[in-house]
Amino acid sequence: MASRLLLPLAGLLLAVLGWAAGAVWLAHGMPIASAFAPLESAASLWQLVSAGELWPHVVVSLKRVAVGLLLAILIGVPLGVLTGLSRRFTQATAPLFQFLRMVSPLSWMPLAVMVLGVGDAPVYFLLAFAAVWPILLNTASGVAQLDPNWLLLARSLSATRTETVLRIVLPGITAHILTGVRLAIGIIWIVLVPAEMLGVSAGLGYFILDTRDRLAYSELMAVIVLVGALGYALDHLARAAHARWLHR
């Protein structure tokens, strides 16, 4: 029990020490680099948070995550169900999907801005585009792995098609969808910061570029720490939802 808390803390402490040592070493050649150090960053983080300067950016970013994720679910789940149910649909789309999946979503940025204009729309597009694949693939494998015993049970109850979908298929693939959502959140969170570096005027990605322009390096480190912590928390939430659904 103690080691479950102690070992991770020790790991984090070691990383902070390494971070401090790195900042000292870097400051030898570049005095300004001392702003990267943990204590300075922590002070900045405290200041940014208590002054309320960071919250609007956090809220904007989280909203983008939510919208991007929702779009990805709305598109990915039906496509995944189709992929899982129809061999022909799978055969027709597999190469296309593999191809699209392998293109970094950020590559679409210029095109997205051209078509959707500057603002939130291209960011939503990029996030949804990045997140749709794990949701689609996990939904499809959920459908393919539906327990044949459940379908037999539905038949033995003379279940209607609607009853079968609503009471067996959808709940039966929810665990897989949640796995997909968890992977999608991880991807969205990674794509979010670079996606917010172009054409928007709020959000954590924007704020990072802003600190760079203001040479506010301790704030830069503070935001990086915050991004990591928020991502960790989001992943934790998604994991908890998954575990809760399966009652593990």
């Binding site: 327990d147 015993n149 459940w150 037999l152 049970l153 038949r155 033995s156 109850l157 003379s158 279940a159 209607t160 009853e163 067996i168 709940p171 039966g172 929810t174 665990a175 659904w245 399966l246 009652h247 593990r248």
Partner: protein, 263 residues
């Protein structure tokens, strides 16, 4: 618990099948010209080696599959679709992991083609079924938290909650360890008697058939057909039946199986 026996045309039969033929899409006959009856409150075991078509026959009898030809009557009526008063238990419990034991036990109770129940009736059925299988205190446990034997008990409760006139069971205990299996065999006989239901139990285990059955049907293969029948009038519980009679029956079944192989 239901004691009422619905109309069966005065035959005293829960299930009546005659001249059944069946093949899967590949065309070769899985079983041919099978006729069998199950009386009310009777436990019939369908015994045969693996691959002889027992599961296929059970699925056809429950009307999960349509026979190529032949006639099935359930409570005297021609059977065209799975019947609300017939329930199934399979080798795998097939529980729904997002529902707790009570949710799983009641899962068959509120479908469009099942009899309407009030919430009170539904709750009472779930409670009776769970306590009949010894899980009264575990209604709120989820399948991930149940052992294999407990999961199969919930599957049995799910079948009982529908107050079946006939329980179809396809090797329901073959995935369990020997001790749990023995418990479940005894439990099955007990609840079938208490629920006043009939049961058709598929098994490849001679001892299981002798322990449980009122009547044993031996199935041969290629194509599947019923080759012999034994009425088992040994004392219950069978563990206390005359050992000589049990052994004699066992040897008789074994030699019939041997004769099948020799062909």
């Amino acid at each position: 618990m239901s004691t009422a026996v619905s109309g069966d045309g005065g035959t005293g039969l829960a299930l009546q099948a005659s001249g059944l033929n069946f093949s899967y899409a590949d065309g070769h006959a899985v079983f041919a010209d099978v006729s069998l009856d199950v009386r009310h409150r009777e436990i019939v075991c369908l015994l045969g080696g693996s691959g002889c078509g027992k599961s296929s026959l059970l699925r056809v009898l429950a009307r999960l599959e349509a026979p190529a030809s032949g006639d099935i009557r359930f409570l005297g009526e021609p059977l065209q679709a799975p019947h609300p008063r017939a329930a199934l238990v399979f080798q795998q419990p097939g529980l729904l992991p997002w529902l707790d034991a009570a949710g799983n036990a009641g899962f068959g109770l509120d479908f469009e083609h099942q009899p309407r129940l009030t919430p009170v009736e539904r709750a009472a059925r779930i409670e009776q079924a769970l306590s009949a299988v010894g899980l009264a205190g575990h209604a709120h446990r989820y399948p991930a938290q149940l052992s294999g034997g407990m999961a199969q008990r919930v599957a049995l409760a799910r079948a009982l909650a529908r107050e079946p006139q006939l329980l179809f069971a396809d090797e329901p205990f073959s995935a369990l360890d020997a001790i749990t299996r023995a418990e479940m065999q005894a439990l099955l006989v007990e609840v079938v008697h208490r629920w006043h239901t009939a049961a058709l139990l598929v098994t490849h285990d001679i001892d299981e058939a002798i322990l449980v059955a009122d009547r044993i049907l031996l199935m041969g293969e290629a194509p599947g057909r019923i080759v012999r029948e034994w009425v088992v009038d040994l004392e219950r519980p069978r563990e206390q039946a005359d050992p000589a009679a049990v052994t004699a029956l066992r040897l008789d079944i074994l030699s019939a199986l041997h004769a099948l192989r020799a062909h």
